[in-house]
């Protein structure tokens, strides 16, 4: 993950050369795609258990948003969290090893797919209760304001969470206290099996902050360039003025979780998005059209990503399970 993080690690996302930025994005999105495909495979092999929610189709959001972040900013999301972690620059090995429940996992095997954290990378989870992360993320923003550190909380939620009451409790406090929070609604159009139309009286979700005076914007979440541009503006707003909402129109290709047969939508609907709106294909075409990369250099990225993911999978497959004594550790911190 060395090159892909260069531009943003320097906090220079806005000024790095355009082709570096886009190549970074391409590589990061591809990493998530390949990682998730491999996770799905390991799940099928019984190596990953429980719930496993894949991010395939939504890669442009985590990656484009991350390009607007600077060190110190925080990220928090719900349980579809692998993509955000990889975009934040967390080692795929420790993420995959968490999925397989091994002691080398980032949560030492105690969290699993839905509960991963990296204080070092500003990633605050990884939360399993729909909507709870929105209050928590608002608290990250509160902390930034309390400490006057200029950091921004990137608080993600889905189109399902947006109907939870505590989201609005949080919106109210965020605007009341002008907290630096960018709320990112990843509208993949289905809350598990219930479409937005069937669950929401107002389907334009970017409007959901209006009665709190929080501005909102709808963004093509399948276009990483659009996401990145919206993110840069939103982050600036959050740092200087207060909370803002970005509604990312996106689509998940897989079921809600690995165990979801996705009978609530047609195969044609999924194929339509995959073939016409895929975020990675879209960026690839752009890179080639603008002459920023040729077939060979993209192939090189492909190969490297595949190698990294294969190594992560091998690591996760062979790393030992936690010692039984670990059952009782990490409940309390010694006072």
């Amino acid at each position: 993950m060395a090159r892909q993080t260069q531009a943003r690690k320097n906090g220079a996302a806005k000024t790095a050369p355009r082709n570096d930025i886009l190549l970074d994005a391409y590589r990061d999105m591809l990493m998530i795609r390949r990682f998730e495909e491999r996770a799905g495979q390991l799940y099928g092999m019984g190596l990953i258990g429980g719930f496993c929610h894949l991010y395939i189709g939504q890669e442009a959001i985590a990656v484009g948003m991350q390009q607007a972040a600077r060190p110190g900013d925080q990220i928090i999301t719900a349980y579809r969290d692998h993509g955000h972690m990889l975009a934040a620059g967390i080692d795929p090995k420790v993420v995959m090893a968490e999925l397989t429940g091994r002691s080398a996992g980032i949560s030492r095997g105690k969290g699993g797919s839905m509960h991963m954290f990296s204080v070092e990378k500003g990633f605050f989870g990884g939360h399993g209760i729909v909507g709870a992360q929105v209050s928590l993320g608002t608290g990250l923003g509160f902390s930034n304001k309390y400490n006057d550190n200029g950091n921004v909380s990137f608080t993600y939620c889905g189109d399902g969470a947006i109907n939870q009451g505590q989201v609005y409790e949080s919106f109210n406090m965020a605007e009341l206290w002008k907290l630096p929070v960018v709320y990112v609604i990843e509208n993949n159009q289905y809350a598990m099996g219930t479409s937005v139309e069937r669950s929401s009286s107002e389907v334009e979700l970017y409007k959901r902050g209006l009665s709190f005076n929080i501005p909102g914007e709808q963004v093509d979440g399948m276009d990483v360039v659009a996401v990145r541009e919206a993110a840069i503006k939103a982050v600036e707003h959050a740092r200087t003025k207060g909370p803002i909402i970005l509604e990312m129109k996106t689509y998940r290709y897989r079921g809600h979780s690995m165990s979801d047969p996705a009978k609530y939508r047609s195969r044609d609907e999924v194929d339509e998005v995959r073939t016409k709106r895929d975020p990675i294909d879209h960026l690839k075409a752009l890179l080639e059209k603008e002459g920023m990369a040729d077939e060979a250099s993209l192939k090189e990225i492909d190969t490297e990503v595949k190698r990294i993911v294969a190594e992560a999978a091998e690591f996760a497959r062979t790393a030992p399970e936690p010692d039984p004594a670990e059952l009782y550790t990490d409940v309390y911190l010694e006072a």
Partner: protein, 451 residues
């Protein structure tokens, strides 16, 4: 003639100070007119006239302290026959209610031998202080000590606390650190937990723990579990505090003891002190603790005064019970307000030749099983007292620990005194029947002693 009576201005008010009269003899009073100001330990309130008429006499002069509720404070010459009926005592249904209100407050605190606490240096002076003020001092001291500590909750700042526990904190620490929230328990509990993830140390006041049910998901799923779920990477140093248990005459939704609920959750520490010294020392410890702490207070003892040692930094260990009274015949365990009842019961029992040992649990998680077991090994008999419901309760847990660790020492089956298995009723007599009482504890104690 119509008497104007000293009004009760809150569910728990028993007396107050008649701070100011706005009327004098000979004045004509109309309905709704503000006639007086009354101070309770929580607030200064204005009193409006209900009846109309000419003031015949002021019966209680302004500045009078400790005026009991329902004392006639002024007399009106009635006009147009508008007069209040005299305050009839509610006809008591059988069985007659036991004194509903804090019988323990009347009993002098029996001399207690202090176990487990840090040594109070010889020559230390003590000051009389209410539990309310002890809690306030604990927060103020910790806020002075650590700029990361802040207080948030409903009415904690400008209003000075719904129960005045946060009085004067806004004035000292400003609105950055004493924060009025909207009525948004779920949201601000989550917000505070998120802030704690970053290393801030929030104190979240719930106006009562009844309202914390709205926030329970954040307390348990976010605050309690995140450290474990992250393999030890994350922390959540936060205190959730506020009054818990039954107040007085506020009905089922405002009268519940959550001790057992929080006490069952790994990742939380749960503290429920009785007296002012413990309230102060344990709240300071809770604020310093790197783990989430649920700190259960009790509205009915906020105004009760106790001795608090005047030492620089009074911090008590979480996880240690306290033997408040030694005895050889039976052990009574209790926490929070019920400790007062247990002590009063022990006094009565002593008069009948039964020496009860009263163990104040103080911390419910981790439970100080060692002190409980040592006591039962000595006395061989056990009564548990709690304001929560019996099933799956604190008493049930204490009994299980005793059965497991001191089975052979028991001379009688333990008994549990707890809230009756009903939602809290409103009627005074029914409420008194529902909650634990000194009488119930005495009866249970005699039963386990075969007396």
């Amino acid at each position: 003639m119509t008497d104007i009576l000293m009004p009760a201005l809150s569910p728990t008010m028993e007396e107050g100070t008649l701070a100011k009269w706005n009327i004098k003899a000979g004045d004509t009073v109309s309905s709704g007119q503000i006639i007086a100001e009354i101070e309770t330990d929580k607030a200064t309130m204005e009193v409006e006239a209900v009846d109309e008429g000419v003031v015949d006499a002021i019966l209680v002069p302004e500045g009078s302290e400790g005026v009991k509720v329902n004392t006639p404070i002024a007399r009106l010459k009635g006009e147009g026959g508008a007069s209040s009926p005299p305050p009839a005592a509610a006809p008591a249904a059988e069985p007659a209610p036991a004194a509903a209100k804090a019988p323990e407050a009347a009993a002098p605190p029996p001399a207690a031998r202090v176990a487990n606490d840090p040594e109070v240096p010889a020559g230390t002076t003590f000051k009389r202080q209410t539990v309310r003020d002890a809690l306030r001092d604990a927060m103020a001291e910790e806020m002075r000590r650590d700029p990361k500590v802040f207080l948030m909750g409903e009415e904690v700042a400008q209003y000075q606390g719904a129960y005045k526990v946060s009085r004067d904190l806004l004035q000292e620490f400003g609105e950055k650190r004493v924060i009025d929230t909207p009525i948004t328990e779920h949201g601000f509990a989550g917000l505070a937990a998120g802030a704690a993830f970053t290393g801030l140390r929030p104190i979240v006041e719930f106006m009562t723990f009844n309202f914390a049910m709205q926030a329970m998901d954040q307390i348990i799923n976010s605050a309690a579990k995140t450290r474990y779920m992250s393999g030890g990477q994350m922390q959540c140093p936060i205190v959730f505090r506020g009054p818990n248990g039954a107040a007085a005459r506020v009905g089922a939704q405002h009268s519940q003891d959550y001790s057992a609920w929080y006490g069952s959750v790994p990742g939380l520490k749960v503290v429920a002190p009785y007296d002012a010294a413990d309230a102060k020392g344990l709240l300071k410890a809770a604020i310093r603790d790197p783990n989430p702490v649920v700190f259960l207070e009790h509205e009915m003892i906020y105004g009760t005064e106790f001795d608090v040692p005047e030492v620089d930094d009074w911090v008590l260990p979480i996880g240690k019970a306290k033997v408040r009274r030694e005895g050889r015949d039976l052990t009574i365990t209790a926490h929070s307000r019920a400790v007062g009842m247990a002590l009063a019961a022990a006094e009565i029992l002593a008069g009948e030749g039964i020496e009860a040992e009263v163990v104040d649990l103080r911390t419910l998680r981790p439970l100080d099983t060692e002190t409980i077991i040592a006591s039962v090994q000595k006395t061989s008999r056990l009564v548990t007292v709690e304001e929560g419901w019996g099933p799956y309760g604190v008493g049930a847990e204490v009994c299980a620990q005793v059965a497991l660790n001191a089975f052979d020492y028991l001379d009688a089956p333990p008994m549990r005194v707890h809230c009756e298995d009903v939602p809290m009723p409103y009627a005074a007599n029914l409420e008194a029947l529902a909650i634990p009482s000194v009488d119930k504890i005495v009866k249970a104690a005699k039963t386990v002693c075969n007396r």
